[in-house]
């Protein structure tokens, strides 16, 4: 495995606000790497630095053995960048957008058609439609096609699935896996924890810092607490009561279950008894496996304590 992206102690502030600090990550060639973190974690800033659009205050980034500051001109031909905000020409058609971006990269759609075929075929029936009139999912496919048309070595996708429906999101990730097999290194950012498990490796980001870099499963394994899923009719009341339980470490609502975690193993009957004494009689409980989000919240709370 060859290291294709080296991010070395990168700092960036906007006036007084520190956007990212001390970011260092190595990304391997043909890896699908994810930056996971909530809004405002500094993901987009990092992506803009990698895309040669922003200069870091200090530190350096090497992409495909080229420096993002000194060799930005050469580097740009090897990068495909898809900003978080849809930024193709809304008043041009699907076809015109694609031809334009192929043209300015001094290539043609037919030359690299094999790269985008799977993706582009899905929007090809609408090629005479203006990009602005496409649905969210189709816009993303077009943007990905445009970012791929010059056969980049590295693909930078900044929150590609934000605002896209669940089905399109799954399709999108399938496409990324296919692209990976073509040898393209893909760096993606997302605020959705469930997408983290679809990456080869992830970096968890919080407040401009990286809290951990590892395989998704390893990050989940970091979760050392005991986890019980609890549910009742009055979920809000239940969360509050669970947090009052002496052994409680955290209690968060995930979908239909409340994830109750504790340092020591909690006997369900005792917890049930406690809840009854607090007036909750319909609590259901089951053992659950921790997921990425549990791990993330755990890491996040540790971070705050530190």
């Amino acid at each position: 495995m060859e290291t294709i992206i080296q991010i070395n102690q990168v700092y960036k502030s906007y006036e007084e606000i520190r956007a990212i600090s001390d970011i260092s990550v190595d990304i391997q060639s043909a890896e699908l790497f994810g930056f996971i973190g909530p809004d405002g974690a500094g993901k987009s800033t990092l992506f803009r630095i990698m895309a040669t659009l922003l200069l870091p205050d200090s530190g350096e980034v090497q992409m495909a053995h080229l420096d993002t500051i000194k060799d930005y001109k050469k580097l740009r031909t090897k990068l495909g960048y898809m900003p978080g905000r849809f930024s193709l020409y809304q008043d041009l058609t699907v076809e015109e957008n694609l031809n334009f971006f192929a043209g300015i990269f001094k290539t043609s759609v037919s030359k690299n058609y094999h790269l985008i075929k799977d993706i582009y075929q899905q929007i090809e029936p609408f090629k005479k439609r203006k990009a602005g009139d496409l649905s969210g999912g189709m816009k993303q496919k077009l943007a990905l096609s445009c970012a791929l048309i010059h056969k980049p070595e590295i693909l930078l996708l900044d929150e590609p699935t934000t605002g896209v429906d669940a089905v399109s999101r799954m399709e999108f990730w399938e496409m990324l896996h296919k692209l990976k097999t073509q040898g393209i290194t893909i760096v993606v950012s997302t605020p959705y924890m469930d997408e983290a498990s679809l990456c080869d490796r992830v970096a968890l980001m919080q407040k401009g810092k990286i809290m951990g870099v590892d395989k998704p499963q390893k990050i989940v394994d970091l979760f050392s607490k005991h986890l019980i899923g609890v549910k009742a009719k009055n979920m809000y009341g239940l969360v509050n009561k669970l947090r009052e339980y002496p052994l409680c470490h955290s209690a968060y609502l995930f979908g239909e279950w409340i994830h109750f975690s504790s340092e020591q193993e909690v006997v369900k009957n005792k917890l049930q008894e406690f809840l009854r004494s607090k007036g909750i009689y319909d609590a259901q409980m089951q053992n659950i496996q921790p997921n990425m989000e549990d791990s993330f919240i755990d890491l996040m709370t540790q971070n705050i304590i530190e």
């Binding site: 960048y81 900003p83 905000r85 930024s87 041009l92 015109e96 334009f100 043209g103 001094k106 445009c146």
Partner: protein, 370 residues
């Protein structure tokens, strides 16, 4: 080269896709030229005149008939009463009042002084001075004729004979003066606004990000952005010249080829300025207001409506950076006076240097790495 072509193709696709753009770019300037050229007039026609004839004599009637005969006056009231006339002027019904006092005829024949009062509505200063000048001339001519005819004074007795001739515009046709100026104005506004809004629009919708990560070079980007608007503004300019020649019959004494070539350079300057504004603003709104601010100042200082020579010294200094002033002067000199390259090369030089500076500034401001 191919990259530039792709950029230009894209710009034209976008311009012509927008259904409102074509009329804005072509029909509106033509309409404005046709309409404004008739309305932006300096001629004082149809002066509403009221005469307070207190004398009611043959002589006063004779003088009044001179005013009636003049194409510039509409003698709307003749009354032996001054009060009502003043009220009418107050209401705006009269622009000028001529007061002929009693004993006017008597005084004239006696050979003593016969005063006449001219009262002019001077809200519009330049119009007022023109109106009173017209009236004085009519009265002066009458005086001269009176001396010769009635007082038997020999014609030779009147020493100073003024013979006035108007050069370059013998018919005093204001349109030949205004049309080239208005044309300059229109292409300036079109060029400046189109280019000032363009890059900033790409910033607003975020497409600039996508362009910035491509290997487009600065010069390719600038040319790709400027050329489409340059072509549009040139087409506008040439249509305007044709209208000036065949609709307004503006004489074109100098070289029209030179005018078109210099217009090409001038438009580079205007587009460069627009591009510069575009790079310093973050939203189309900002860009619009900055452009409008400069256009207003440039127009009012340009000498289009008022002669530059009459402006205060600081305004003349401001005009050093006013591109419109240079180009309007150039147009008027070449078209109306038939000036040749030798007469106007200093203007061309300034326009050319200015164009280079503006393009340089725009290129410098447009940084690909933010």
């Amino acid at each position: 080269m191919k990259t530039i072509l792709y950029l230009i193709q894209k710009e034209f696709l976008q311009i012509f896709r927008d259904k409102m753009m074509l009329p804005i770019i072509f029909a509106i300037p033509i309409m404005q030229l046709l309409v404004l050229s008739y309305t932006a007039t300096f001629e004082i026609k149809q002066i509403e005149l009221g005469i307070a004839d207190m004398d009611q004599s043959v002589t006063s009637a004779d003088l009044i008939s001179r005013f009636k005969a003049s194409p510039f006056y509409i003698v709307s009231v003749i009354k032996p009463n001054y009060q009502t006339l003043e009220e009418q002027m107050q209401k705006g019904e009269l622009e000028q009042i001529i007061y002929i006092p009693t004993h006017f005829e008597q005084d004239l024949y006696k050979g003593s002084e016969a005063p006449i009062q001219i009262i002019t509505d001077a809200i519009n200063g330049s119009a007022a001075s023109l109106m009173s000048a017209y009236s004085m001339k009519i009265i002066g001519n009458y005086n001269k004729d009176f001396l010769v005819k009635e007082m038997m004074m020999p014609k030779e007795y009147i020493n100073i004979q003024t013979e006035v001739s108007f050069w370059y515009n013998p018919d005093l046709n204001y349109k030949t003066f205004m049309v080239p100026g208005i044309l300059v104005l229109l292409v300036t506004v079109i060029g400046l606004f189109l280019s000032a809004l363009n890059i900033v629009k790409e910033k607003e919708i975020g497409t600039i990000e996508q362009l910035n990560v491509t290997p487009i070079k600065k010069y390719q980007f600038i040319i790709g952005k400027l050329l489409p608007f340059w072509l549009i503004a040139m087409v506008d300019f040439i249509i305007g010249l044709l209208l000036a020649r065949f609709v307004f019959m503006v004489p074109m004494l100098g070289s029209v080829t030179m005018v078109i070539l210099v217009a090409g350079v001038y438009l580079i300057l205007v587009l460069g300025m627009g591009l510069f504004i575009s790079t310093i603003s973050d939203t189309q709104k900002q860009s619009m207001f900055i452009s409008w601010f400069f256009v207003m100042i440039f127009i009012l200082l340009s000498g289009l409506f008022t002669p530059v020579e009459n402006m205060p010294v600081w305004a003349l200094w401001l005009n050093i950076v006013n591109p419109i002033a240079y180009f309007i002067e150039f147009m008027r000199l070449v078209l109306l006076k038939g000036s040749t390259l030798a007469h106007v090369y200093h203007l061309i030089l300034v326009i050319a240097i200015y164009a280079v500076v503006m393009i340089g500034l725009a290129t410098w401001r447009y940084r690909k790495v933010a």
